[in-house]
């Protein structure tokens, strides 16, 4: 089994290398100490079978390597102390080892990897946000809207889309009711959970639950059909298309 080590701390890198070299069936094909060198390594070497990777490197996060190059090799993360990362790992069943570790820890993780060799499909954007502590952020839950002479408190997950029209901001809920809301689309967009809502173009924020059909449209844009339906064309602007697809692929 070909293993790559990503670790910026010199004595620790030598230690994990010797532990892995003492593990039967394992050969270390490289030791990489920075994000920059990691990218170079993957560009010039065949993919290893398994990666042991530190999180914080001297020039950034190891996640940057995997995210940018779309690495699909299974990874076992190693960390001495990062409470946010640990929380994120546990939440997403991502394999990790706490440093310092001993031979037994390595053997166990290799055995586990052999038993469940599924390649990792990790959402690194999400992970980076989490370990920056952004998970602590709470998003807007409710909208107070008026209907006739009544006021209604609408939950964010009852919203289908929010759009601007003639300088006003309007909201359509799941039932197809239309309400005026306060604030600009920019402001409201900042308050809402980006996993639920996406700004598809200059004038509309869409909740994923309201997307019915997606089709290719001219100029590299996408055309959407929404539920409840919208009066007029709804398209995802060209420069947001790839981010839009990522968002729907979470």
């Amino acid at each position: 089994m070909k293993v790559l080590i990503i670790e910026d701390e010199k004595p620790a890198a030598r230690r994990i290398k010797s532990l892995l070299e003492n593990t039967p069936g394992v050969s270390v094909v490289g030791v990489v100490e920075s994000v920059k060198r990691g990218k170079e390594w993957f560009n010039t070497n065949p993919s290893p079978d398994l990666i042991f990777s530190d999180i914080q490197l001297g020039d950034g996060l190891s996640f940057e390597i995997f995210k940018e190059l779309g690495i699909k090799t299974p990874i076992i993360f190693t960390t001495a102390y990062n409470e946010y990362a640990l929380e994120a790992f546990k939440h997403n069943s991502i394999a990790y080892l706490l440093k310092p570790f001993v031979q037994e820890d390595i053997n166990e993780s290799i055995a586990k990897f052999k038993e469940f060799p599924n390649s990792s499909n990790i959402n690194f954007n999400d992970l980076i946000a989490k370990i920056r502590g952004e998970h602590a952020k709470t998003y807007r839950n409710r909208f107070l809207v008026e209907k006739g002479d009544q006021m209604i408190s609408l939950q964010s997950n009852e919203v289908s889309y929010i759009y601007s029209e003639d300088k006003a901001t309007l909201l359509k809920d799941l039932a197809g009711n239309r309400f005026f809301v306060r604030g600009s689309l920019d402001e409201i967009g900042q308050e809402l959970d980006p996993r639920a809502f996406f700004r598809i173009n200059r004038s509309m924020l869409v909740h994923h639950q309201s997307i019915d059909k997606i089709s290719n449209y001219f100029g590299g844009t996408l055309k959407l059909e929404l539920i409840p339906s919208f009066d007029g064309d709804v398209s995802v602007s060209r420069r947001r298309v790839s981010e839009f697809k990522d968002w729907l692929n979470h």
Partner: protein, 173 residues
């Protein structure tokens, strides 16, 4: 001091034990020296330059064990320079430099501690990490600033040039 630092140091230590028991023992002794100084400095408002330099050098030893030649620190300052500065200020400035800048074989971090015009200067080469998980270092800098305000000493400043981040610590007599 960042809890990260303790855990990272313990990890370094675990590796050193195998490589060289002598180095490991030296490392433990310096690590306890650093923590002893931190505990002691909570009780006082000012530290002598001599104490601070000694602490900073011990701290640097621990960092150099982890980063080896990727981190270079020069002390161009006399050990017996008279006067006081806020406790842990040198350690904090060095720690900040390492936290926010790239330290790698392709981009070494160079820090210099020197004496100029009645002030201790700490400068570091600038090469900011792209994804920086650490919060702004302003908290630490503000603490030092407040300490100088208490002692009604002017001249504390920090600024950036094209290639360096520089902090000037006035020496209190």
């Amino acid at each position: 001091m960042n809890p990260h630092f303790l855990f990272n140091s313990l990890n370094t230590l675990a590796s050193l034990i195998y490589e060289s028991p002598d180095k490991a023992t030296d490392f433990v002794s310096k690590l306890s020296g650093v923590y002893r100084y931190v505990l002691k400095s909570n009780e006082k408002d000012l530290a002598t330059i001599k104490e601070e330099l000694e602490m900073a050098k011990t701290f640097v030893f621990l960092l150099k064990t982890r980063f080896e030649d990727d981190l270079n620190i020069d002390f161009e300052i006399k050990e017996d320079l008279e006067g006081f500065i806020p406790p842990l200020s040198l350690q904090l400035l060095i720690e900040n430099a390492v936290k926010h800048n790239v330290v790698s074989p392709d981009s070494n971090l160079n820090i210099k501690v020197f004496n100029k015009g009645g002030k201790v200067h700490v400068s570091n080469s600038l090469n900011k990490k792209e994804v920086d998980l650490n919060n702004s270092s302003k908290t630490g800098l503000n603490q030092i600033k407040q300490r100088y305000e208490i002692y009604k000493t002017e001249g504390f400043k920090f600024y950036k040039t094209d290639s360096e981040f520089i902090v000037e610590l006035p020496i209190i007599q």
